[in-house]
Amino acid sequence: MLLKKNIFSCLAFLFLLSVSHAQNNVYLSLSSAGKKRSDIAIDNFTASDRNANSIKYAKLFKDVIENDLILSRYFNIMREASEYIGDNISEKLSYFAKAGSAVLLSASVSSSNEDSISIEITMFDVESGGVIWSEKHKGNVSDYRYIAHEASDEIVKRFIGDTGIARTKIVFVNNCTKHKELYVIDYDGYNIRRLTRDDKINILPRWSPVGDKIIYTSYLYNNPDLFYLDIVKNRRGIISKYQGLNATGVFSPDGGAILLTLSRGNFPNLYLINASGGILQKLTAGSCIDTSPSFAPNGQEIVFISDRFGYPQLYIMNVAGGNVKRLSTNGFCDSPSWSPRGDKIVFTMRRGKSNYDLYIYDLPTAKITRLTDQQGKNENPSWSPDGRFVAFCSNRSGKGEIYIMAIDGSGTRKLTEIPGNSYTPAWSPVLAK
Protein backbone atom coordinates (compact mmCIF):
# COMPACT_ATOMS: atom_id res chain seq x y z
CA MET A 1 0.00 0.00 0.00
CA LEU A 2 2.74 2.37 1.04
CA LEU A 3 4.81 1.31 -1.95
CA LYS A 4 1.90 1.99 -4.26
CA LYS A 5 1.49 5.45 -2.78
CA ASN A 6 5.17 6.12 -3.28
CA ILE A 7 5.04 5.05 -6.91
CA PHE A 8 2.14 7.36 -7.54
CA SER A 9 3.86 10.20 -5.76
CA CYS A 10 6.91 9.66 -7.94
CA LEU A 11 4.78 9.67 -11.05
CA ALA A 12 3.04 12.80 -9.93
CA PHE A 13 6.40 14.38 -9.28
CA LEU A 14 7.58 13.52 -12.78
CA PHE A 15 4.49 15.07 -14.26
CA LEU A 16 4.95 18.19 -12.24
CA LEU A 17 8.54 18.40 -13.43
CA SER A 18 7.46 18.28 -17.02
CA VAL A 19 4.83 20.94 -16.56
CA SER A 20 6.07 24.46 -16.19
CA HIS A 21 2.87 25.99 -14.87
CA ALA A 22 1.22 23.21 -12.94
CA GLN A 23 0.43 24.31 -9.41
CA ASN A 24 -1.63 21.57 -7.86
CA ASN A 25 -1.64 17.82 -7.37
CA VAL A 26 -4.17 17.00 -10.04
CA TYR A 27 -2.11 14.13 -11.50
CA LEU A 28 -1.70 12.59 -8.12
CA SER A 29 -5.44 12.51 -7.66
CA LEU A 30 -5.86 11.08 -11.13
CA SER A 31 -3.42 8.26 -10.75
CA SER A 32 -4.02 7.37 -7.13
CA ALA A 33 -7.76 7.06 -7.67
CA GLY A 34 -7.44 3.27 -7.56
CA LYS A 35 -10.80 1.77 -8.38
CA LYS A 36 -12.41 5.15 -8.84
CA ARG A 37 -12.10 6.29 -12.40
CA SER A 38 -10.88 9.71 -13.41
CA ASP A 39 -12.57 12.22 -15.64
CA ILE A 40 -10.85 13.15 -18.84
CA ALA A 41 -12.31 15.70 -21.24
CA ILE A 42 -11.71 15.19 -24.93
CA ASP A 43 -11.63 18.16 -27.24
CA ASN A 44 -12.49 17.94 -30.92
CA PHE A 45 -9.46 16.76 -32.86
CA THR A 46 -8.58 19.39 -35.44
CA ALA A 47 -6.87 19.35 -38.81
CA SER A 48 -3.98 21.78 -38.46
CA ASP A 49 -3.43 21.99 -42.22
CA ARG A 50 -7.17 22.08 -43.09
CA ASN A 51 -6.46 19.34 -45.61
CA ALA A 52 -9.53 17.15 -46.40
CA ASN A 53 -7.57 14.01 -45.55
CA SER A 54 -6.54 15.44 -42.20
CA ILE A 55 -10.14 16.42 -41.39
CA LYS A 56 -11.29 12.89 -42.16
CA TYR A 57 -8.57 11.26 -40.03
CA ALA A 58 -9.02 13.73 -37.17
CA LYS A 59 -12.52 12.31 -36.71
CA LEU A 60 -11.32 8.69 -37.09
CA PHE A 61 -8.43 9.18 -34.62
CA LYS A 62 -10.78 10.66 -32.06
CA ASP A 63 -13.20 7.73 -32.32
CA VAL A 64 -10.42 5.16 -31.82
CA ILE A 65 -8.68 6.94 -28.95
CA GLU A 66 -11.90 7.78 -27.13
CA ASN A 67 -12.98 4.14 -27.39
CA ASP A 68 -9.56 2.92 -26.18
CA LEU A 69 -9.79 5.15 -23.12
CA ILE A 70 -13.29 3.87 -22.35
CA LEU A 71 -12.24 0.24 -22.80
CA SER A 72 -9.23 0.78 -20.52
CA ARG A 73 -11.69 1.36 -17.64
CA TYR A 74 -9.28 3.87 -16.11
CA PHE A 75 -11.20 6.95 -17.26
CA ASN A 76 -14.61 8.54 -17.51
CA ILE A 77 -14.86 10.43 -20.77
CA MET A 78 -16.49 13.84 -20.56
CA ARG A 79 -18.63 13.88 -23.64
CA GLU A 80 -19.52 17.55 -23.39
CA ALA A 81 -16.19 18.06 -25.04
CA SER A 82 -17.48 17.10 -28.44
CA GLU A 83 -20.33 19.58 -28.21
CA TYR A 84 -18.16 22.53 -27.36
CA ILE A 85 -17.47 24.74 -30.33
CA GLY A 86 -14.77 27.34 -30.15
CA ASP A 87 -11.10 27.82 -30.84
CA ASN A 88 -9.94 29.79 -27.85
CA ILE A 89 -8.03 27.42 -25.58
CA SER A 90 -8.51 29.47 -22.41
CA GLU A 91 -12.28 29.56 -23.03
CA LYS A 92 -12.25 25.82 -23.51
CA LEU A 93 -10.26 25.26 -20.35
CA SER A 94 -12.60 27.36 -18.25
CA TYR A 95 -15.53 25.48 -19.81
CA PHE A 96 -14.06 22.12 -18.79
CA ALA A 97 -13.02 23.42 -15.40
CA LYS A 98 -16.68 24.22 -14.74
CA ALA A 99 -17.65 20.79 -16.06
CA GLY A 100 -15.36 19.30 -13.41
CA SER A 101 -12.66 17.68 -15.50
CA ALA A 102 -9.04 17.85 -14.37
CA VAL A 103 -7.46 17.24 -17.77
CA LEU A 104 -8.25 17.99 -21.38
CA LEU A 105 -7.05 15.87 -24.28
CA SER A 106 -6.58 17.80 -27.46
CA ALA A 107 -5.08 16.77 -30.78
CA SER A 108 -4.24 18.17 -34.16
CA VAL A 109 -3.86 16.07 -37.28
CA SER A 110 -1.87 16.82 -40.40
CA SER A 111 -0.96 14.96 -43.56
CA SER A 112 2.06 15.92 -45.62
CA ASN A 113 0.91 13.67 -48.47
CA GLU A 114 -1.90 11.20 -49.27
CA ASP A 115 -0.20 8.21 -47.64
CA SER A 116 1.13 9.62 -44.39
CA ILE A 117 -0.68 11.01 -41.42
CA SER A 118 0.48 12.46 -38.13
CA ILE A 119 -1.30 13.32 -34.92
CA GLU A 120 -0.01 15.58 -32.19
CA ILE A 121 -1.57 14.80 -28.83
CA THR A 122 -1.61 17.54 -26.20
CA MET A 123 -2.79 16.98 -22.65
CA PHE A 124 -3.77 20.13 -20.72
CA ASP A 125 -4.08 20.62 -17.02
CA VAL A 126 -7.50 22.27 -16.95
CA GLU A 127 -7.02 24.28 -13.77
CA SER A 128 -3.60 25.77 -14.54
CA GLY A 129 -3.94 25.74 -18.32
CA GLY A 130 -0.48 24.19 -18.56
CA VAL A 131 0.53 21.55 -21.05
CA ILE A 132 1.16 18.26 -19.23
CA TRP A 133 2.72 16.72 -22.28
CA SER A 134 2.58 16.89 -26.02
CA GLU A 135 3.67 14.14 -28.37
CA LYS A 136 3.51 13.35 -32.08
CA HIS A 137 2.60 9.96 -33.55
CA LYS A 138 2.84 9.40 -37.27
CA GLY A 139 2.75 6.72 -39.93
CA ASN A 140 0.99 5.42 -42.98
CA VAL A 141 -2.74 6.23 -43.27
CA SER A 142 -3.52 2.52 -43.63
CA ASP A 143 -2.12 2.06 -40.10
CA TYR A 144 -4.20 4.86 -38.61
CA ARG A 145 -5.83 2.57 -36.04
CA TYR A 146 -2.41 1.39 -34.85
CA ILE A 147 -1.17 4.99 -34.65
CA ALA A 148 -4.23 5.91 -32.59
CA HIS A 149 -3.73 2.86 -30.30
CA GLU A 150 -0.12 3.91 -29.80
CA ALA A 151 -1.31 7.34 -28.65
CA SER A 152 -3.89 5.72 -26.33
CA ASP A 153 -1.26 3.45 -24.77
CA GLU A 154 0.93 6.49 -24.18
CA ILE A 155 -1.93 8.27 -22.39
CA VAL A 156 -2.49 5.25 -20.14
CA LYS A 157 1.22 4.98 -19.42
CA ARG A 158 1.51 8.66 -18.50
CA PHE A 159 -1.38 8.53 -16.05
CA ILE A 160 -1.27 4.99 -14.74
CA GLY A 161 2.36 3.99 -15.12
CA ASP A 162 1.61 0.70 -16.90
CA THR A 163 1.58 0.33 -20.66
CA GLY A 164 -1.93 0.17 -22.08
CA ILE A 165 -3.23 -2.76 -24.12
CA ALA A 166 -4.62 -0.90 -27.14
CA ARG A 167 -1.99 -2.38 -29.48
CA THR A 168 -3.02 -5.98 -28.80
CA LYS A 169 -4.89 -8.55 -30.87
CA ILE A 170 -6.81 -11.70 -30.17
CA VAL A 171 -6.45 -14.87 -32.21
CA PHE A 172 -9.33 -17.35 -32.13
CA VAL A 173 -10.99 -20.23 -33.97
CA ASN A 174 -14.21 -19.85 -35.95
CA ASN A 175 -16.20 -22.41 -37.92
CA CYS A 176 -18.40 -20.22 -40.16
CA THR A 177 -16.93 -21.93 -43.23
CA LYS A 178 -17.92 -25.31 -41.68
CA HIS A 179 -14.24 -25.82 -40.88
CA LYS A 180 -12.31 -24.58 -37.87
CA GLU A 181 -10.00 -21.84 -39.13
CA LEU A 182 -7.88 -19.25 -37.33
CA TYR A 183 -8.79 -15.57 -37.29
CA VAL A 184 -7.10 -12.58 -35.71
CA ILE A 185 -8.78 -9.37 -34.61
CA ASP A 186 -7.77 -6.16 -32.82
CA TYR A 187 -8.65 -6.12 -29.12
CA ASP A 188 -11.33 -3.49 -29.85
CA GLY A 189 -13.11 -5.73 -32.37
CA TYR A 190 -11.77 -4.13 -35.55
CA ASN A 191 -9.53 -5.40 -38.36
CA ILE A 192 -10.62 -9.02 -38.43
CA ARG A 193 -8.37 -11.11 -40.65
CA ARG A 194 -8.54 -14.76 -41.57
CA LEU A 195 -5.24 -16.59 -41.09
CA THR A 196 -5.91 -20.10 -42.40
CA ARG A 197 -7.85 -21.45 -45.36
CA ASP A 198 -7.32 -25.17 -44.97
CA ASP A 199 -10.81 -26.73 -44.86
CA LYS A 200 -9.40 -28.80 -42.00
CA ILE A 201 -9.50 -28.59 -38.19
CA ASN A 202 -7.25 -25.89 -36.66
CA ILE A 203 -7.43 -25.48 -32.89
CA LEU A 204 -5.91 -23.99 -29.72
CA PRO A 205 -3.85 -21.02 -31.01
CA ARG A 206 -1.29 -19.31 -28.74
CA TRP A 207 1.04 -16.32 -29.25
CA SER A 208 4.80 -16.23 -29.00
CA PRO A 209 6.02 -13.93 -26.19
CA VAL A 210 6.88 -11.12 -28.63
CA GLY A 211 3.80 -11.65 -30.77
CA ASP A 212 5.51 -12.49 -34.06
CA LYS A 213 4.26 -16.08 -34.19
CA ILE A 214 1.12 -18.07 -33.43
CA ILE A 215 1.36 -21.77 -32.64
CA TYR A 216 -1.65 -24.07 -32.96
CA THR A 217 -2.68 -27.65 -33.59
CA SER A 218 -3.88 -28.58 -37.06
CA TYR A 219 -5.19 -31.77 -38.67
CA LEU A 220 -3.98 -30.53 -42.07
CA TYR A 221 -2.11 -33.80 -42.68
CA ASN A 222 -4.60 -35.97 -40.77
CA ASN A 223 -2.54 -36.00 -37.60
CA PRO A 224 -2.88 -33.35 -34.85
CA ASP A 225 0.48 -31.63 -35.48
CA LEU A 226 1.78 -28.44 -33.87
CA PHE A 227 2.16 -25.68 -36.46
CA TYR A 228 3.52 -22.16 -36.34
CA LEU A 229 2.38 -19.14 -38.30
CA ASP A 230 4.93 -16.37 -38.59
CA ILE A 231 2.59 -13.42 -39.01
CA VAL A 232 5.44 -10.98 -39.59
CA LYS A 233 7.18 -12.95 -42.34
CA ASN A 234 3.88 -14.47 -43.51
CA ARG A 235 5.19 -18.02 -43.26
CA ARG A 236 3.98 -21.28 -41.88
CA GLY A 237 5.57 -24.53 -40.84
CA ILE A 238 5.32 -27.58 -38.60
CA ILE A 239 7.08 -27.56 -35.24
CA SER A 240 6.11 -30.94 -33.84
CA LYS A 241 4.59 -33.90 -35.69
CA TYR A 242 5.03 -36.97 -33.55
CA GLN A 243 2.43 -39.64 -34.33
CA GLY A 244 -0.70 -38.88 -32.29
CA LEU A 245 -1.31 -35.76 -30.22
CA ASN A 246 0.83 -32.64 -30.57
CA ALA A 247 -1.59 -30.35 -28.75
CA THR A 248 -2.05 -27.53 -26.21
CA GLY A 249 1.33 -26.04 -27.13
CA VAL A 250 2.48 -22.92 -25.25
CA PHE A 251 5.71 -20.95 -25.52
CA SER A 252 7.98 -20.52 -22.51
CA PRO A 253 8.13 -16.83 -21.46
CA ASP A 254 11.59 -16.47 -23.06
CA GLY A 255 10.28 -18.00 -26.30
CA GLY A 256 13.01 -20.65 -26.34
CA ALA A 257 10.90 -23.73 -25.62
CA ILE A 258 7.39 -25.04 -26.08
CA LEU A 259 5.42 -27.02 -23.54
CA LEU A 260 2.81 -29.36 -25.02
CA THR A 261 0.96 -32.65 -24.78
CA LEU A 262 2.36 -35.52 -26.85
CA SER A 263 1.01 -39.06 -27.01
CA ARG A 264 3.72 -40.72 -29.15
CA GLY A 265 1.91 -44.05 -29.30
CA ASN A 266 1.20 -43.94 -25.60
CA PHE A 267 -0.82 -42.07 -22.99
CA PRO A 268 -0.78 -38.28 -23.38
CA ASN A 269 1.89 -36.60 -21.27
CA LEU A 270 3.52 -33.17 -20.98
CA TYR A 271 6.79 -32.56 -22.77
CA LEU A 272 9.14 -29.63 -23.22
CA ILE A 273 10.39 -29.33 -26.82
CA ASN A 274 12.61 -26.88 -28.66
CA ALA A 275 11.47 -24.69 -31.56
CA SER A 276 12.28 -27.40 -34.12
CA GLY A 277 10.35 -30.11 -32.29
CA GLY A 278 13.22 -31.87 -30.54
CA ILE A 279 12.30 -33.22 -27.13
CA LEU A 280 14.10 -31.49 -24.28
CA GLN A 281 12.32 -33.16 -21.41
CA LYS A 282 9.37 -35.38 -20.56
CA LEU A 283 7.64 -33.76 -17.59
CA THR A 284 4.91 -36.21 -16.63
CA ALA A 285 4.46 -39.97 -16.92
CA GLY A 286 1.71 -42.50 -16.50
CA SER A 287 -1.68 -43.40 -17.90
CA CYS A 288 -3.56 -40.40 -16.53
CA ILE A 289 -4.39 -37.29 -18.54
CA ASP A 290 -1.88 -34.45 -18.04
CA THR A 291 -2.54 -31.50 -20.33
CA SER A 292 -3.41 -27.76 -20.71
CA PRO A 293 -0.10 -26.35 -19.44
CA SER A 294 0.56 -22.66 -18.78
CA PHE A 295 3.86 -21.10 -17.70
CA ALA A 296 4.26 -18.77 -14.75
CA PRO A 297 5.70 -15.45 -16.00
CA ASN A 298 9.04 -16.32 -14.33
CA GLY A 299 9.30 -19.38 -16.57
CA GLN A 300 10.12 -21.60 -13.58
CA GLU A 301 6.72 -23.04 -12.75
CA ILE A 302 3.86 -24.58 -14.70
CA VAL A 303 0.17 -24.95 -13.99
CA PHE A 304 -1.57 -27.85 -15.76
CA ILE A 305 -4.50 -30.20 -15.38
CA SER A 306 -4.36 -33.86 -14.46
CA ASP A 307 -6.97 -36.50 -13.75
CA ARG A 308 -4.50 -38.56 -11.69
CA PHE A 309 -6.96 -38.67 -8.81
CA GLY A 310 -10.07 -39.35 -10.86
CA TYR A 311 -11.10 -36.08 -12.46
CA PRO A 312 -9.27 -33.12 -14.01
CA GLN A 313 -7.77 -30.87 -11.33
CA LEU A 314 -5.26 -28.02 -11.28
CA TYR A 315 -1.66 -28.80 -10.40
CA ILE A 316 1.51 -26.75 -10.20
CA MET A 317 5.01 -28.10 -10.73
CA ASN A 318 8.42 -26.76 -11.61
CA VAL A 319 9.80 -26.87 -15.17
CA ALA A 320 11.89 -29.92 -14.31
CA GLY A 321 8.68 -31.83 -13.52
CA GLY A 322 9.22 -31.84 -9.75
CA ASN A 323 7.49 -30.42 -6.68
CA VAL A 324 3.99 -31.26 -7.91
CA LYS A 325 1.31 -29.61 -5.84
CA ARG A 326 -2.47 -29.77 -6.22
CA LEU A 327 -4.47 -26.56 -5.97
CA SER A 328 -7.57 -26.78 -3.85
CA THR A 329 -10.41 -26.85 -6.32
CA ASN A 330 -13.39 -29.15 -6.22
CA GLY A 331 -14.84 -29.49 -9.71
CA PHE A 332 -13.79 -30.52 -13.21
CA CYS A 333 -11.12 -27.95 -14.13
CA ASP A 334 -9.39 -27.06 -17.39
CA SER A 335 -7.67 -24.27 -19.36
CA PRO A 336 -5.64 -22.77 -16.50
CA SER A 337 -3.73 -19.64 -17.43
CA TRP A 338 -1.14 -17.99 -15.19
CA SER A 339 -1.56 -14.21 -14.92
CA PRO A 340 1.11 -11.89 -16.36
CA ARG A 341 1.74 -10.53 -12.84
CA GLY A 342 2.22 -14.04 -11.50
CA ASP A 343 -0.20 -13.94 -8.58
CA LYS A 344 -3.34 -15.42 -10.15
CA ILE A 345 -4.52 -18.35 -12.23
CA VAL A 346 -7.72 -18.07 -14.25
CA PHE A 347 -9.40 -21.34 -15.24
CA THR A 348 -12.72 -22.92 -16.14
CA MET A 349 -14.51 -25.27 -13.75
CA ARG A 350 -17.72 -27.28 -13.67
CA ARG A 351 -19.23 -28.27 -10.35
CA GLY A 352 -21.78 -31.09 -10.21
CA LYS A 353 -24.34 -30.78 -12.97
CA SER A 354 -23.73 -27.08 -13.52
CA ASN A 355 -22.07 -25.49 -16.54
CA TYR A 356 -18.46 -24.43 -16.91
CA ASP A 357 -17.73 -21.05 -15.33
CA LEU A 358 -14.56 -18.99 -15.11
CA TYR A 359 -12.78 -18.69 -11.76
CA ILE A 360 -9.66 -16.97 -10.51
CA TYR A 361 -7.34 -18.69 -8.06
CA ASP A 362 -5.38 -16.13 -6.06
CA LEU A 363 -2.06 -17.80 -5.25
CA PRO A 364 -1.01 -15.77 -2.17
CA THR A 365 -4.34 -16.30 -0.39
CA ALA A 366 -5.49 -19.58 -2.04
CA LYS A 367 -8.88 -17.91 -2.47
CA ILE A 368 -11.07 -18.72 -5.46
CA THR A 369 -13.25 -16.00 -7.00
CA ARG A 370 -15.96 -16.73 -9.52
CA LEU A 371 -16.00 -14.54 -12.66
CA THR A 372 -18.99 -15.81 -14.63
CA ASP A 373 -22.27 -17.08 -13.27
CA GLN A 374 -23.99 -19.78 -15.27
CA GLN A 375 -24.49 -17.76 -18.43
CA GLY A 376 -23.89 -20.72 -20.70
CA LYS A 377 -20.60 -22.58 -20.89
CA ASN A 378 -17.60 -20.27 -20.27
CA GLU A 379 -14.22 -21.58 -21.35
CA ASN A 380 -10.63 -20.96 -22.44
CA PRO A 381 -9.83 -17.72 -20.58
CA SER A 382 -6.79 -15.76 -21.78
CA TRP A 383 -5.21 -12.82 -19.92
CA SER A 384 -4.70 -9.36 -21.37
CA PRO A 385 -0.98 -8.47 -21.13
CA ASP A 386 -1.71 -6.00 -18.30
CA GLY A 387 -3.51 -8.71 -16.30
CA ARG A 388 -6.70 -6.66 -15.85
CA PHE A 389 -8.94 -8.43 -18.37
CA VAL A 390 -9.63 -11.90 -19.73
CA ALA A 391 -10.89 -12.91 -23.15
CA PHE A 392 -12.94 -16.10 -23.13
CA CYS A 393 -15.43 -18.16 -25.11
CA SER A 394 -19.05 -18.48 -24.07
CA ASN A 395 -22.17 -19.94 -25.69
CA ARG A 396 -24.50 -17.68 -23.64
CA SER A 397 -26.05 -16.19 -26.78
CA GLY A 398 -26.86 -19.63 -28.17
CA LYS A 399 -23.63 -19.98 -30.10
CA GLY A 400 -19.93 -19.87 -29.28
CA GLU A 401 -18.64 -16.27 -29.16
CA ILE A 402 -15.63 -14.44 -27.78
CA TYR A 403 -16.12 -12.06 -24.86
CA ILE A 404 -13.86 -9.81 -22.83
CA MET A 405 -14.39 -8.95 -19.17
CA ALA A 406 -12.47 -7.13 -16.46
CA ILE A 407 -11.27 -9.50 -13.74
CA ASP A 408 -13.30 -7.62 -11.16
CA GLY A 409 -16.25 -9.17 -12.98
CA SER A 410 -17.39 -5.96 -14.67
CA GLY A 411 -17.64 -4.64 -18.19
CA THR A 412 -18.31 -7.82 -20.15
CA ARG A 413 -18.42 -7.10 -23.89
CA LYS A 414 -18.74 -9.27 -26.96
CA LEU A 415 -15.60 -8.90 -29.07
CA THR A 416 -17.33 -8.91 -32.45
CA GLU A 417 -20.35 -10.10 -34.41
CA ILE A 418 -19.24 -12.89 -36.71
CA PRO A 419 -21.17 -15.80 -38.24
CA GLY A 420 -20.60 -19.34 -36.98
CA ASN A 421 -19.17 -20.41 -33.63
CA SER A 422 -15.99 -18.93 -32.21
CA TYR A 423 -13.67 -20.70 -29.78
CA THR A 424 -10.43 -20.57 -27.78
CA PRO A 425 -9.30 -16.93 -27.82
CA ALA A 426 -5.66 -16.10 -27.08
CA TRP A 427 -4.68 -12.53 -26.23
CA SER A 428 -1.46 -11.21 -27.77
CA PRO A 429 1.28 -9.26 -26.03
CA VAL A 430 1.55 -5.55 -26.97
CA LEU A 431 2.47 -5.75 -30.64
CA ALA A 432 4.89 -3.84 -32.81
CA LYS A 433 3.25 -2.50 -35.96
Binding site: K180, R194, L195, T196, R197, D198, I201, I203, L204, Y219, L220, Y221, N222, N223, P224, L229, I231, K233, N234, R235, R236, G237, I238, I239, S240, K241, Y242, Q243, G244, L245, A247, T248, T261, S263, R264, G265, N266, F267, P268, S276, G277, G278, S287, I289, D290, T291, S292, I305, D307, Y311, P312, F332, D334, S335, T348, Y356, E379, N380, Y423, T424
Partner: protein, 161 residues
Protein backbone atom coordinates in the same frame (compact mmCIF):
# COMPACT_ATOMS: atom_id res chain seq x y z
CA UNK B 1 18.27 -42.55 -37.44
CA UNK B 2 14.90 -42.32 -39.08
CA UNK B 3 13.89 -40.00 -36.27
CA UNK B 4 16.76 -37.63 -36.95
CA UNK B 5 16.01 -37.41 -40.65
CA UNK B 6 12.33 -36.73 -40.13
CA UNK B 7 13.07 -34.21 -37.42
CA UNK B 8 15.18 -32.40 -39.98
CA UNK B 9 12.32 -32.50 -42.43
CA UNK B 10 10.06 -31.07 -39.76
CA UNK B 11 12.04 -27.86 -40.02
CA UNK B 12 11.28 -25.27 -42.60
CA UNK B 13 8.54 -25.58 -45.09
CA UNK B 14 7.70 -22.17 -46.23
CA UNK B 15 5.68 -20.67 -48.97
CA UNK B 16 5.73 -17.79 -51.35
CA UNK B 17 5.39 -14.44 -49.65
CA UNK B 18 3.79 -12.96 -52.70
CA UNK B 19 0.34 -14.31 -51.94
CA UNK B 20 -2.61 -12.13 -51.06
CA UNK B 21 -2.10 -10.28 -47.81
CA UNK B 22 -5.46 -11.45 -46.47
CA UNK B 23 -4.57 -15.08 -46.03
CA UNK B 24 -1.60 -17.09 -45.06
CA UNK B 25 -1.53 -20.03 -47.41
CA UNK B 26 0.13 -23.34 -46.84
CA UNK B 27 2.83 -24.84 -48.92
CA UNK B 28 2.24 -28.14 -50.65
CA UNK B 29 5.93 -28.94 -50.34
CA UNK B 30 5.65 -29.79 -46.66
CA UNK B 31 7.13 -33.16 -45.88
CA UNK B 32 4.41 -35.75 -45.67
CA UNK B 33 6.28 -38.00 -43.22
CA UNK B 34 5.54 -38.11 -39.52
CA UNK B 35 8.26 -38.50 -36.96
CA UNK B 36 8.22 -42.24 -36.44
CA UNK B 37 7.87 -43.31 -32.87
CA UNK B 38 6.96 -46.36 -30.90
CA UNK B 39 6.52 -48.38 -34.08
CA UNK B 40 3.27 -46.67 -35.01
CA UNK B 41 2.70 -46.24 -38.73
CA UNK B 42 2.13 -42.70 -40.00
CA UNK B 43 -1.45 -41.63 -40.53
CA UNK B 44 -0.40 -38.92 -42.93
CA UNK B 45 -2.18 -39.34 -46.20
CA UNK B 46 -5.76 -40.48 -46.49
CA UNK B 47 -7.45 -43.09 -44.41
CA UNK B 48 -10.75 -44.68 -45.32
CA UNK B 49 -13.43 -46.48 -43.41
CA UNK B 50 -13.52 -50.13 -44.25
CA UNK B 51 -17.06 -51.45 -44.23
CA UNK B 52 -15.72 -54.52 -42.43
CA UNK B 53 -14.51 -52.49 -39.45
CA UNK B 54 -16.94 -51.30 -36.82
CA UNK B 55 -17.11 -48.43 -34.35
CA UNK B 56 -16.74 -48.98 -30.60
CA UNK B 57 -18.66 -46.72 -28.22
CA UNK B 58 -17.80 -45.50 -24.72
CA UNK B 59 -19.53 -44.32 -21.54
CA UNK B 60 -19.34 -40.66 -20.55
CA UNK B 61 -15.84 -39.55 -19.52
CA UNK B 62 -14.62 -43.17 -19.65
CA UNK B 63 -12.08 -44.94 -21.78
CA UNK B 64 -12.86 -48.45 -20.47
CA UNK B 65 -14.14 -50.90 -23.07
CA UNK B 66 -17.77 -51.85 -22.45
CA UNK B 67 -19.09 -55.37 -23.03
CA UNK B 68 -20.69 -54.21 -26.24
CA UNK B 69 -17.46 -52.59 -27.42
CA UNK B 70 -15.52 -55.76 -26.69
CA UNK B 71 -17.85 -57.73 -28.98
CA UNK B 72 -17.34 -55.21 -31.78
CA UNK B 73 -13.58 -55.05 -31.35
CA UNK B 74 -13.37 -58.83 -31.38
CA UNK B 75 -14.99 -58.84 -34.83
CA UNK B 76 -12.63 -56.11 -36.04
CA UNK B 77 -9.62 -57.93 -34.63
CA UNK B 78 -10.45 -61.22 -36.32
CA UNK B 79 -10.90 -59.38 -39.62
CA UNK B 80 -7.52 -57.68 -39.17
CA UNK B 81 -5.80 -60.93 -38.27
CA UNK B 82 -6.92 -62.32 -41.64
CA UNK B 83 -5.42 -59.34 -43.51
CA UNK B 84 -1.90 -59.05 -42.15
CA UNK B 85 -0.81 -56.44 -44.70
CA UNK B 86 -3.45 -53.91 -43.60
CA UNK B 87 -2.31 -50.94 -41.53
CA UNK B 88 -4.90 -49.14 -39.48
CA UNK B 89 -5.48 -45.98 -37.51
CA UNK B 90 -7.65 -45.91 -34.42
CA UNK B 91 -9.32 -42.50 -34.00
CA UNK B 92 -10.58 -41.61 -30.54
CA UNK B 93 -13.52 -39.18 -30.23
CA UNK B 94 -15.49 -37.65 -27.36
CA UNK B 95 -18.77 -35.84 -26.91
CA UNK B 96 -18.66 -32.07 -26.47
CA UNK B 97 -19.47 -31.86 -22.77
CA UNK B 98 -15.97 -31.56 -21.40
CA UNK B 99 -13.38 -29.00 -22.40
CA UNK B 100 -11.55 -29.15 -25.71
CA UNK B 101 -8.07 -29.80 -24.26
CA UNK B 102 -9.18 -32.55 -21.87
CA UNK B 103 -11.26 -34.15 -24.62
CA UNK B 104 -8.22 -34.40 -26.91
CA UNK B 105 -6.44 -36.45 -24.27
CA UNK B 106 -9.56 -38.48 -23.43
CA UNK B 107 -9.96 -39.36 -27.13
CA UNK B 108 -6.31 -40.40 -27.25
CA UNK B 109 -6.79 -42.65 -24.23
CA UNK B 110 -9.82 -44.29 -25.90
CA UNK B 111 -7.80 -44.92 -29.06
CA UNK B 112 -5.02 -46.48 -26.98
CA UNK B 113 -7.43 -48.79 -25.14
CA UNK B 114 -8.66 -50.06 -28.51
CA UNK B 115 -5.10 -50.47 -29.78
CA UNK B 116 -4.21 -52.41 -26.62
CA UNK B 117 -7.13 -54.72 -27.26
CA UNK B 118 -6.00 -55.40 -30.84
CA UNK B 119 -2.41 -55.99 -29.71
CA UNK B 120 -3.56 -58.41 -27.03
CA UNK B 121 -5.58 -60.20 -29.72
CA UNK B 122 -2.36 -60.70 -31.65
CA UNK B 123 -2.31 -57.81 -34.12
CA UNK B 124 1.22 -56.44 -34.54
CA UNK B 125 1.55 -53.06 -32.78
CA UNK B 126 3.44 -51.60 -35.74
CA UNK B 127 0.28 -51.96 -37.85
CA UNK B 128 -1.75 -49.69 -35.57
CA UNK B 129 -1.57 -45.89 -35.32
CA UNK B 130 -3.59 -43.92 -32.78
CA UNK B 131 -4.85 -40.36 -32.93
CA UNK B 132 -7.48 -38.28 -31.18
CA UNK B 133 -9.98 -35.81 -32.51
CA UNK B 134 -11.32 -34.99 -29.04
CA UNK B 135 -14.69 -33.33 -29.49
CA UNK B 136 -13.67 -31.74 -32.81
CA UNK B 137 -15.36 -34.22 -35.17
CA UNK B 138 -18.80 -35.21 -33.91
CA UNK B 139 -20.93 -37.63 -35.91
CA UNK B 140 -24.05 -35.75 -34.80
CA UNK B 141 -23.48 -32.10 -33.93
CA UNK B 142 -26.27 -31.82 -31.36
CA UNK B 143 -26.60 -31.51 -27.61
CA UNK B 144 -28.65 -34.47 -26.45
CA UNK B 145 -28.04 -37.91 -24.94
CA UNK B 146 -28.49 -39.73 -28.24
CA UNK B 147 -26.00 -37.50 -30.07
CA UNK B 148 -23.48 -37.64 -27.22
CA UNK B 149 -23.67 -41.46 -27.12
CA UNK B 150 -22.95 -41.65 -30.87
CA UNK B 151 -20.04 -39.21 -30.59
CA UNK B 152 -18.17 -41.04 -27.79
CA UNK B 153 -16.43 -43.52 -30.04
CA UNK B 154 -13.30 -45.07 -31.46
CA UNK B 155 -13.20 -45.63 -35.21
CA UNK B 156 -10.84 -48.14 -36.76
CA UNK B 157 -9.86 -47.08 -40.27
CA UNK B 158 -7.55 -48.63 -42.81
CA UNK B 159 -4.64 -46.59 -44.08
CA UNK B 160 -4.69 -46.55 -47.85
CA UNK B 161 -1.05 -46.31 -48.61
Amino acid sequence: MNKIITLGLAGLFVFAVGCKRQDIKHDATDSIETVAFNDEPSVRGDSEISSDLKIAYFDFDKSDLTGESLEILKENASYLSKKPSLKIVVEGHTDNRGTSEYNLSLGQRRALKVKDYYVNFGIAPNRIATISYGSEKPVIDENNDAAWAKNRRAETKTLNK
